[in-house]
Assembly symmetry: C2
Homo-oligomer: 372 residues x 2
């Protein structure tokens, strides 16, 4: 048994037949202590130790003390996986979003994690990257008994909810979030998009704007529809005609600059240019700013802008930009609280919640028209 050291195909060194190394590894891979170990060391049975640790009344004070101090000394931690197997619950929740590196979602995950941490749950994250196939496989993966519940925001490709229906049928606890699932039997937590959009549009009208355009996300998304409705209702309420030429869509939510450029060209090169624009996603908002910088269109002198955005910098971007900010962190907290409440109270009658949270309209004084 000569020690042999050679490079494996990853270029790292591998060691075989080498007592020195092997021993050092055996030492290093500290086998975490279990109840059995404690029992053996103290000459007790497994069950006694288990009960002592769980502070059962059946155990004598002396034994309890012995077990506890030994456990503490050896840094005993119950194995959560064994517990999960026994209790048929993992104390972890899955979060599926389209994109983690998106301010809105990362703020929401922040909120979810905060609640989960308070209640002793793990948070397992997955992203669909706006891909329906990846969304479905991630859901399957999470659902195969490794999470107790799922918080999800569907991808922009998701028009068919049968997969989610399937999960519901198998008894998975779920909360739909932001981009809502068009399916009755699921809890929903979302921004009051209608009201937010209504308020933003009204803000324009009150400041004297009447040629108000709206650039929206993919038309079949719940958020798009609600925001468009809010815009239209505000116009209607103020007896301003709704004109289709002033409504533009970006199929990918403005992710691609070209989309926004096309929409803006259509609007700004027409004879009756709008003097105000409502931008219905953060990518659309910032790409409009980019467009205006490039084409030297002055905001708000030539065109005023109110945009949905959760990017922390937007308020610095253009002094006259008013922002509709979704309460992402709070939405995350509410979704997590709702989900965990459901997980832990299985006897609760399932009346599915539909929670609408108000967005915050950060009005910048200068977004008002000078002559208004």
């Amino acid at each position: 048994m000569n020690p042999s050291i050679y490079a494996n195909d990853t270029g790292l060194f591998v060691v075989k037949n080498c007592n020195f190394i092997t021993q050092s590894f055996n030492k290093m891979k500290f086998e975490a202590i279990t109840i059995k170990d404690i029992a053996k060391a103290l000459g007790l049975s497994n069950s006694t130790v288990s009960r002592a640790i769980r502070d059962s009344y059946q155990i004598s004070a002396e034994t309890k003390q012995r077990v506890l101090s030994y456990a503490k000394e050896h840094n005993y931690r119950p194995n959560p996986i064994a517990l999960s197997l026994k209790e048929k619950r993992s104390r972890s929740i899955g979060v599926l979003v389209s994109e983690i590196a998106n301010s809105f979602f990362s703020q929401a995950i922040d909120g979810i994690e905060s609640v989960a941490q308070e209640k002793g749950y793990n948070v397992i994250i997955a992203q669909s990257k706006e891909d329906i196939l990846r969304e479905n496989s991630s859901l399957d993966y999470l659902a195969s008994r490794s999470v107790d519940g799922i918080i999800l925001s569907v991808s922009s490709e998701t028009e068919d909810f049968s997969h989610i229906q399937g999960l519901y049928d198998r008894g998975m606890h779920m909360v739909s979030f932001d981009r809502i699932v068009n399916f009755d039997k699921i809890h929903k937590v979302k921004t009051d998009n209608f009201q937010a959009s209504y308020d933003a549009t009204t803000h324009f009208i009150k400041n004297g704007y009447k040629e108000i355009a709206c650039i929206s996300n993919a038309p079949f998304l719940s958020i798009s529809q609600e925001r468009l409705e809010g815009y239209k209702s505000a116009l209607k309420a103020h007896k301003i005609k709704i004109e289709d030429r002033l409504i533009q869509f970006c199929a990918h939510g403005g992710l691609i600059y070209k989309e926004v450029e096309t929409a803006m060209n259509t609007l700004m090169r027409s004879k009756k240019k709008p003097n105000a624009i409502l931008a219905c996603s953060d990518k659309i908002t910032t790409n409009i700013v980019r467009y205006c910088q490039q084409t030297k269109i002055a905001i708000p002198q030539e065109v005023a802008l109110v945009g949905f955005s959760n990017l922390v910098l937007t308020d610095l971007l253009v002094p006259s930009l008013s922002i509709v900010m979704q309460p992402a962190y709070e939405m995350g907290r509410v979704a997590a609280e709702l989900l965990i409440h459901n997980i832990e109270n299985k006897n609760v009658v399932k009346q599915f919640e539909n929670i609408n949270m108000p967005a915050i309209l950060h009005q910048r004084a200068s977004s008002a028209k000078k002559d208004a």
Copy 2:
């Protein structure tokens, strides 16, 4: 046993002693199918079914077929928790960062998740919120055998690494990330902060600036020290005197506006004002922009600015702002690949990697001095 429905303290309705409801719930909580169920249904033993599913060569084609089709029909999924218990590995990795809702970290998590997904691992996230106590308890929590390895970026309060040393001693696989642990026996993935800072400072010098200030993060953080060294070295290489009065620190990395305000006041109200500033974190960068907007200091006419930032909007912010961007997504991928490689190749000799990844300096032409 009268059915009774009453509101619990959460305001939701609870049902007790009600057969109707109980039955409907029993139906709803679809008990996922196990190997045992399949065995019973097909009159086989557990092990035969197990082997058939794992496509063992020992099983006859016919039996295999029977098992597989039954499994598929009933949507059998192996229970990952039982597997974890058996194999003593959970196929999940923990990620501990100070703050999820931070562009750099959320981009990094994006990278980590991408690799994990490819390799069949779960990603469990936790945040320290820059709190050393929360950092330690999160580490304990993750480490108590529920993850196979941990990727961590320490909090700005972490000066003592004994907790991490303890984890190492217990055999936990770890990769230290971005904010590096000052501890030998751990893999490290970080930005080449020295070079980035050196290049940014050189950019100033080449454009004719000589009064270059540096506003840095908490002084004992590895990233702060390296960035400061790069700044100093660049000055030295160009025979510019290093002046302490031009070096300012923000203990909380500019998180609090006041910190940056104080630093900027000190710099800009002195007799020998700097004409260029290197901002060593994204919060510092944007708060300097905010400060300049408020005090009407023109960038770059009065003071030029180069800042570290991973915020997607920074390029829109000030047309003359040059950005040092860390390759967050790639760093996440590398960290995850390194970690998973380590988890899966336990015999590899532990030569701890120290990976330095180059930052990207986005130079904006207009950040050059007009007269240079």
